[in-house]
């Protein structure tokens, strides 16, 4: 199994983090995303025509999109099926939060790329959109805590938690404070205590 990987990408980190938590070995293929722009080269576009990372290959299968990769890995390699349960209702809820992770939360990624690596985004707009997304997540996690639940969906951590975690935890890189999101901050601490947790630059061990 090979992961086309960029060390500073929160999306690639989703996959590295999950593979570590399920204890699965893999190879990495480092992609010179910045400053090289290797993900936009013809060679890489053969692998992913969208020119995005991560990409996972496993035998004959090639998958793009961090959320899709998490679903595949959980379905195939988590024998207990706790990370992506078979219950259709939980699957529906997970899909909803996976979409949120690849959508609204990515405003935090945009702010980070703007502040750190000179990407041309309207910084006020993307920060405001990230705050709006964090408010939704914080309210949800507060509701869950009232029910005695600690994770986004169900009773255990699922791929929904892994997909949402990186760009929430990295928000400071884009000048977005988590001071007002108490339930999010407690949830971040819980994710960091899941066995197999690993760090990336900008996300500390505790």
């Amino acid at each position: 199994m090979r992961l086309y990987d960029y060390i500073l990408s929160g999306s690639c980190y989703k996959v590295r983090l999950f593979l570590s938590m399920i204890g699965k070995d893999y190879e990495t293929v480092p992609v010179d995303y910045y400053p090289g722009g290797e993900h936009k080269t013809p060679e890489f576009l053969e692998i992913n025509p969208l020119g995005q990372i991560p990409v996972l290959t496993d035998e004959e299968l090639t998958l793009r999109d961090a959320q899709a990769i998490l679903v595949y890995l959980a379905g195939k390699y988590d024998a207990d099926r706790t990370w992506y349960p078979e219950d259709p209702r939980l699957q529906g809820e997970i899909a909803m939060w996976l979409s949120f992770a690849g959508g609204e939360i990515m405003n935090s990624s945009a702010a980070r790329l703007h502040d750190m690596l000179f990407y041309d985004f309207d910084i006020d707009k993307v920060r405001a959109a990230a705050h709006a997304a964090f408010r939704v997540l914080d309210d949800h996690l507060t509701d869950r805590e009232i029910l005695g639940r600690h994770w986004i969906v169900g009773e255990n951590p699922t791929v929904a938690d892994i997909a949402c975690f990186p760009y929430v935890a990295l928000s400071g890189d884009g000048g977005i404070s988590l001071d007002d999101y108490h339930a999010i901050r407690r949830w971040i601490s819980r994710v960091k205590r899941i066995p197999g947790f690993i760090v990336m630059p900008g996300i500390h061990a505790n």
Binding site: L8, D32, P35, G36, D115, F118
Partner: protein
């Protein structure tokens, strides 16, 4: 903010991007010491202009290319950019790691670069690892006539000293500070006996507490891919970034009463004294003054 009046900072050469970043015909709009500037390449010739109120090109200032980067100044430097003869050596690879913006004082970024004591805690498993946390004694001096700080005989146990390293090694280090904003380290090359690998940062101070950092490596390494080398150094630098952005106060205190005299901080104390003697103020902590880094 507007352009600083700090003549010490103004009278230095500053790197403002790689030649590739300022590729011919394409401009880089950026900032230096509070002044908005435009940098461009006219054929092979680098040019720098102040940005006018209407966004156009104003007063032109000197610019030159060294080590694959464009260097410029808003003042009248007395000495040229640092001399690195290693750039002429056969077999070395120049790795331009890519500019990264950091919301911190340039001086804090340089000081952090000189500090070995944070390796096991911030660069765990790469440049250090607990329980080996002690910084061994080293020598530190000002070398004339170039007025550079050199720290020598430094050593540290490193689990992954370079992209090319297979195992841990005791890395020997030398640190060199050639201007308040430019520093280079020389460390034991894992693959060529007796050779030093170079890693350096050219810090472009945009405002008192915001910089672009231009990092390079000049290494002997025939096996790593460019992506391997860039990832290795970016991981280390971005581990520092989130910590640098949270240092308080943002400006670097130069007052002797702010120094904590512990041995591991020898290079830090020397750097602060050297800055104080020069009379640099840009990016320093200056008590309650309103113009300080904030």
């Amino acid at each position: 903010m507007t352009r600083t009046t700090d003549s010490v900072a103004l009278n230095e050469w500053q790197a403002v991007g790689t030649v590739e970043e300022i590729a011919s015909g394409k401009r880089r709009n950026t900032r230096l010491l509070g002044q908005d500037i435009i940098v461009e390449l006219d054929g092979d010739r680098p040019r720098m202009f102040e940005t006018n109120a209407d966004g156009g090109m104003g007063t032109e200032h000197p610019a030159q290319i060294h080590y694959g980067h464009v260097w410029t100044t808003l003042g009248s430097p007395e000495k040229p950019p640092l001399d690195m003869p290693e750039f002429q050596e056969e077999g070395r690879r120049l790795v331009k790691v890519g500019a990264v913006t950091v919301r911190a004082s340039a001086l804090r970024i340089v000081e952090n670069f000189l500090d070995m004591s944070h390796f096991p805690y911030v660069h765990t498993g790469i440049l250090g690892e607990e329980p080996v946390t002690e910084v061994n004694d080293y020598k530190i001096e000002i070398r004339e006539p170039k007025d550079e700080i050199w720290a020598t005989d430094c050593s540290f146990f490193q689990p992954q000293a370079a992209a090319s390293a297979d195992d841990g090694q005791i890395s020997e280090y030398m640190y060199r500070v050639s201007s308040p904003f430019v520093t280079v380290l020389y460390k034991t090359c894992p693959v060529v006996d007796g050779a030093w690998d170079l890693v350096g940062i050219f810090v472009q101070p945009k405002d008192e507490a915001e910089c672009d950092v231009h990092t390079f490596m000049l290494v002997f390494d025939d096996t790593s891919t460019m992506a391997d080398l860039v990832h290795f150094q970016q991981e280390i630098f971005l581990q520092d970034r989130s910590i640098l952005e949270n240092q308080i106060p943002p400006g670097l205190p130069l007052d002797p009463k702010d120094e904590m005299a512990i041995k591991a901080d020898g290079s830090s104390m020397m750097y602060r004294r050297w800055l104080r003697k020069k009379g640099l103020t840009f990016g320093t902590y200056r008590g309650s003054e309103s113009s300080q880094a904030a």
